[in-house]
Symmetry: C2
Subunit: 131 residues, 2 copies
């Protein structure tokens, strides 16, 4: 099993690489056969290559200024899964907005992410200011 420190680091790297718009770096956090659902329940994106393409597209559309953890990572004692709160702040068309998200991830024993499901909806989008 992955230990709690390894899992917390994976979440921190995930946020940092989203902020850096580093799709290939994000994909490298995933196992080769990982599955991503963002939002949860949507058509799964399967495999590291497809996952990189997914993040490349999403980052190109959203262009986040910052993605950060907003609370403690909840790591199961078994080390097989964890959940955490993330906030993504973006500036598009002169409007700064944030989305509050909960990501649930499962982990391989080597610490690679084997699945991710993102929980968020329209009510979690907050417009911060407009210019």
């Amino acid at each position: 099993m992955a230990d709690a420190a390894t899992i917390r680091l994976a979440f921190e790297r995930y946020c940092g690489r989203l902020t850096a718009h580093d799709a290939s770096g994000i994909a490298a956090l995933y196992a080769v056969d990982a599955v991503v659902e963002d939002p949860a329940g949507s058509t799964p994106v399967v495999g590291r290559a497809a996952i990189e393409a997914f993040y490349d597209g999403a980052l190109g559309r959203v262009r986040p200024e910052k993605v950060e953890l907003t609370g403690p990572v909840r790591v199961l004692a078994t080390g097989i899964a964890a959940a955490a709160t993330l906030r993504s702040t973006s500036l598009r068309d002169g409007v700064r907005a944030q989305v509050d998200i909960i990501d649930v991830m499962t982990f391989a024993p080597d610490g690679l992410i084997t699945s991710m499901q993102a929980y968020w909806g329209p009510d979690n989008l907050t417009v911060l200011d407009a210019y």
Copy 2:
């Protein structure tokens, strides 16, 4: 599908009934064939009667002083599932402690909870004060 307001209300009632140590009231929030994993990945508790017994036992052990939402409920646009952050504060043997939890729930169209998975681990327990 359940709408976002119905789902948020279910989370609020869930916290309120945990605070009130109301196991039967909690069970009534669940569909008759619902499945609970607390923590996620543990042996599932299946069906409303077993779920009531589970909460009755857990509340008897933990005796929470307060269970509250600590952030916005993340409701999927599809209304089939949601996730939220909860904090449970307890006083046992003269020690006040809190646990920070993320609960993921799925919902039937009538707003009853069809499944719950609780994400928390040893690192999410914080001792607040001891007398």
